[in-house]
């Protein structure tokens, strides 16, 4: 077939796809999405799992390794049938968090860490490179098959430049398709529709060739079965280890491959579609694998021995003169390659621009988050990334020489992306997984994959020298790339998968267990692991700090979402807040919603960073969170301080209340005291006044004059004594009394007191009993004051002791530097209820014999004893009235002052 016709058919086919995509895009723009959002389209779009490798390579794989190619289909089938709940969780999380790529998912899960985003992006890009090279290779090969058949027209250039043209064409096609606009939620309805059409084309092509082989070249299924049984393919023995490894690898790949994640999670319109896909996609894979063996067997049988089994799909119809069928097969292969490259490069470009280019751009031009249109930068970044991804693929294709079998290259890619699996599954099922663990696992796994599988794939001597292959680096045999830790004899692929994933998982687990997640990580971890719990707060971290003008937020949103989308979003948010216009209040809820919305376009970490800048900060780091925590702590401290102050205030209030009560009590006491003084003063005054009037008015007998004069005199003395006592008491209570300390003999002081008190009721003869010996003690005290106390006690005894033969015992004792003197009479004593008040002022118990004073005596005694550093107490239970005076042997000035 002429090469120019071939190119023309390709271009026509591409134009057709473009039209499909354009119509779908238009329809989605008008909102008529019903068909586009159907489970059928979703399932068909998942078929980008079947790339040119599956299309062409599976036949070659079958021709070389028998049934082993089935593992590539078994893995995804097992995942979709048995692990659909894992996929559902991924889809749920993807929708909740508006995840844009697998790198974004990992980054968002581990505290919006851009480092992890970058690591996953690198792994994805590096792993995808051989895979894209594979597509270039298969398209180039298929061109070669047709061109070799063309006698005239354009001659086929050499393989290298064909590959370059194919790569450039695919890049252009993808850029035109995938980056026509920057969708708010990163969904590409047009592309999904186009790849669905391509899925139908490649399925139809494979089935058509299969039907031709089974019924055209053979005599139906029975004949084919016989041929298969007869062919060497049936002799291939099954290697359980390799099968298990490959099934696992393809299962991991279907979850982790960037393009699968793109169509399965990012482009997912409805979680329910997954239910249909869980059986429909395995059915599609079954259909795709059904005719692989017949084609391989018939190809091996009919085509010359040197023919490349990878191209049997083309060479079989061509050799049988079925040009149209070959053309269909070619278009099927072309579809497989283009759909994979388009979606893969879009997914990779999204990752690259969100996790590498935009952070670097924002870091280089911090002001651009607030100024200038970012949309064209994002678009340009994506376009450049698409070109770069294809350029890398082409470079790999050139470096690896384009000679390796398709299947082998595909498996290298699978093993690479499988490194994301531990962090991904750990992230969505284990809250204890941390950023450090994920980074360690990804790093270790990626390094081992690169060392044991990727770099060796260039061939010995290309990157890793032959010497290292044989001896290990620096002669360390246990580090040989294909025999780590001495595990020789393993299949190199299984060896690499085993060691990379085991050490990856180990590093992930150990790293997670040894580190503690920071607050954002913990929140995100909870949101991911509990994605199905509705009550769990999901979405970005709330904005509680800082302030941003709604206008600034709107301008930024317009740059990323586009004017109309941004305005309608802001209008809806404002309406939700009950406001007119386009400017809602920048509440935390609104900012969180905005961040989610922006995350759909530029990724969670970048959206977070941009909003952070509007809030005046570069990024939300642990320090920021610590600052928030610190602020909270300060507030708590402040409130604790307030509580303390409140306690102090209430304590002060209580104290004031107590003081007030005391003052009130004192005031009452003072009133009562004044009233009592008034009474005590008025009583003698009454007699004095009455008798003085009598004496001036009346004619009195001389005896009467003398008697009344004596009364006046007596009462005047009583008044004077009262005034003296009051003054004395005041001085004693104030503590302003001057003590005259001297050494004095206790016995002599008692003698003085007895002598001074004997004039009270002299008619009564007291029997005074003393303990002469123990009174022979010298005290350092104020002798006059102590004698005053003794006189008071003796006078009271003389006044109030009602015994017929009054006896007074004075007992002195010395104990531990103190002296006790008891005065005990044999009278009736003081009633129990009165004992408590006798030392109070004016506590005179009976008004009977008032010659002695006004009831201040014992109060004065108490004050005197306090001033002398001692006490005076009533001794109950002595039958008579009994008082005990206690005082120190040696009174020091300090003690006296203290007592005051």
């Amino acid at each position: 077939m002429p090469f120019n016709i071939l190119v023309l058919s390709c271009l026509t086919y591409v134009a057709f796809l473009f039209l499909v995509a354009f119509v779908a895009e238009r329809r989605s723009g008008r909102g008529t999405l019903d068909f586009l959002r159907s489970p059928l389209i979703y399932t068909l779009s998942l078929s980008i799992y079947c790339t040119a490798w599956t299309f062409y390579g599976a036949v070659g794989y079958a021709a070389r390794s028998g049934l082993e190619f089935v593992t590539i289909y078994l893995g995804p089938t097992l995942v979709f049938v048995g692990w659909w709940w894992v996929l559902r969780k991924l889809v749920r999380i993807g929708r909740q968090q508006r995840v844009t790529s697998i790198a974004d998912l990992i980054s968002a899960r581990f505290g919006k860490s851009n480092t992890l985003g970058v690591i996953v992006t690198i792994i994805a890009v590096v792993s995808a490179t051989p895979y894209i090279a594979l597509q270039l290779q298969s398209v180039t090969l298929s061109f070669g098959v047709f061109a070799s058949d063309s006698p005239d027209g354009w001659s086929l250039p050499d393989h290298a430049s064909t590959g370059a043209w194919v790569a450039a064409g695919l890049a252009l096609f993808t850029i035109l398709f995938g980056t026509r606009n920057l969708d708010a939620n990163e969904q590409h309805h047009g592309i999904v529709m186009a790849i669905a059409v391509e899925a139908v084309v490649k399925f139809a092509a494979l089935v058509a060739v299969g039907v031709f082989v089974v019924w055209g070249l053979s005599d139906g299924p029975a004949d084919i079965s016989a041929k298969i049984a007869a062919s060497p393919i049936a002799d291939w023995d099954l290697q359980p280890g390799r099968w298990t490894g490959l099934i696992f690898l393809s299962a991991a790949a279907v979850i982790c491959l960037p393009r699968m994640f793109q169509v399965m999670v990012v482009e997912n319109a409805d979680e329910q579609h997954l239910a249909r896909a869980s059986w429909a996609f395995p059915a599609y894979l079954f259909g795709m694998s059904l005719f692989i063996l017949p084609i391989a067997v018939v190809g091996l049988e009919r085509l010359p021995a040197g023919a490349n089994p990878d191209m049997f799909l083309l060479t079989l119809p061509l050799s049988e003169g079925q040009g149209a069928l070959a053309m269909l097969a070619f278009l099927g292969g072309f579809s497989s390659a283009t759909s994979m490259v388009i979606v893969e490069s879009i997914a990779l470009a999204t990752m690259l621009s969100n996790h590498v280019v935009m952070p670097v751009w924002l870091w280089l031009r911090p002001a651009s988050a607030q100024r200038g249109d970012l949309r064209w930068i994002v678009l340009l970044a994506r376009r450049l990334c698409i070109a770069a991804v294809l350029a890398l693929g082409y470079a790999y294709y050139r470096m690896s020489g384009g000679s390796a079998a398709l299947a082998a290259i595909g498996l290298i890619a699978f093993a690479g992306v499988a490194q994301v699996l531990p962090a991904l599954l750990g992230g969505i099922f284990w809250r204890g997984a941390t950023r450090t663990g994920a980074a360690a696992g990804l790093g270790v796994g990626f390094a081992i994959w690169a060392y044991t599988l990727f770099l060796p794939s260039f061939g010995p001597g290309a990157v890793i020298s032959a010497e290292v292959f044989a001896q290990g680096p620096l002669g360390l045999g246990w580090l040989r790339p294909q025999a780590l830790f001495g595990t020789t004899g393993m299949d190199p692929l299984i060896h690499a998968v085993f060691w990379s994933l085991v050490l990856n998982t180990a590093a992930f687990l150990i790293g997670s267990l040894l580190t503690f997640p920071d607050p954002v990580e913990r929140m995100q971890g909870a949101a991911f692991v509990n994605a199905f719990d509705d009550e769990v707060q999901t979405g970005p971290l709330g904005w509680t700090r800082g302030q941003a003008e709604p206008e600034a937020l709107l301008i930024m949103a317009q740059r990323i979402l586009g004017d109309d989308a941004a305005l309608s979003f802001f209008e809806a948010e404002a309406a939700a807040q009950g406001k007119q216009g386009y400017l809602p209040d920048p509440t935390p809820d609104f900012v969180a919603a905005l961040e989610r919305r922006l995350a759909g376009s530029v990724g969670a970490a970048t959206a977070h960073a941009m909003i952070s800048q509007l809030f005046g900060r570069a990024t939300v780091t642990v320090e920021d969170l610590l600052a928030v925590a610190n602020e909270t702590a300060q507030i708590m401290e402040y409130s604790a301080r307030l509580e303390l102050q409140q306690d102090e205030l209430s304590r002060s209030a209580r104290q004031l209340r107590e003081v007030n009560e005391k003052l009130t009590q004192l005031s009452v006491q003072k009133d009562s005291f004044l009233s009592q003084i008034s009474h005590e003063l008025r009583t003698p005054m009454t007699s004095i006044r009455a008798f003085s009037e009598i004496m001036t008015e009346a004619d009195l007998q001389p005896a009467e004059v003398a008697a009344y004069g004596r009364i006046i005199h007596e009462e005047a003395i009583r008044l004077t004594r009262l005034l003296d006592d009051l003054l004395d008491l005041t001085v004693l209570e104030n503590g302003s009394v001057q003590l005259n300390l001297e050494m004095a003999n206790l016995g002599q002081m008692i003698d003085r007191a007895l002598a001074a008190s004997c004039h009270i009721r002299p008619e009564r003869s007291f029997d005074i009993q003393r303990t002469a010996g123990s009174e022979e003690v010298f005290l350092k005290t104020d002798a006059d004051r102590l004698v005053q106390v003794f006189i008071n006690l003796l006078s009271n005894a003389r006044k109030y002791c009602d015994a017929r033969d009054p006896v007074l015992r004075i007992v002195a004792r010395q104990k531990g530097g103190r002296v006790m003197v008891d005065f005990i009479d044999n009278g009736a004593g003081i009633p129990k209820e009165s004992q408590a008040v006798i030392f109070e002022k004016f506590a005179r118990l009976s008004d009977e014999a008032r010659a002695g004073g006004a009831g201040l005596g014992l109060a004065i005694c108490r004050e005197v004893m306090a001033n002398l550093g001692g006490t005076i107490t009533y001794l109950p239970g002595q039958r008579g009235a009994a008082f005990r005076v206690t005082l120190p042997l040696r009174l020091e000035k300090r003690e006296a002052a203290g007592a005051a």
Binding site: S675, S678, H679, R682, T683, M685, T686, S687, I688, R689, A690, F691, E693, I694, E697, A698, I711, E714, E715, S846, D847, E848, R850
Partner: protein, 123 residues
């Protein structure tokens, strides 16, 4: 016939002064120094007037007054209250209890005589 005045007063000098003043003005004065004894003396002596000190041993003056006012025989007996406290509160309480006159110590002898005459004249 001389009016009989019962004086219940614990201060002997004051009692002596009042006894002298009223005796010189034609009254027969009986003195009691204890509230309880004084109350008993009212029944025994049937006085025309009781002069009662507020602060008394045995039974307070206010209590004596209340007892007199509860007894129908002495309900209308003129009672003069003597007090050295001179506080309005005491005066009010005594008035409520039905005291006939109130005299604050110290007093002018003439005031005492005229107050006693007024009470005796009214009865």
């Amino acid at each position: 016939m001389a009016e009989r005045v019962l004086l219940i007063e614990d201060e002997p000098n004051i009692a002596e002064a009042i006894r002298f003043i009223l005796g010189r003005n034609g009254c027969e004065v009986f003195v009691q120094t204890d509230g309880r004894d004084g109350l008993a003396a009212v029944a025994r002596l049937q006085p025309d007037l009781v002069i009662l000190d507020l602060m008394l041993p045995g039974m307070g003056g206010m209590e004596v007054l209340q007892n007199l006012r509860m007894d129908p025989a002495t309900r209308n007996l003129p009672v003069m209250m003597l007090t050295a406290k001179g506080q309005g509160r005491d005066r009010e309480a005594a008035t409520r209890a039905g005291v006939s006159a109130f005299m604050t110590k110290p007093f002018a002898n003439a005031d005492m005589v005229s107050a006693v005459r007024a009470l005796l004249g009214a009865s």
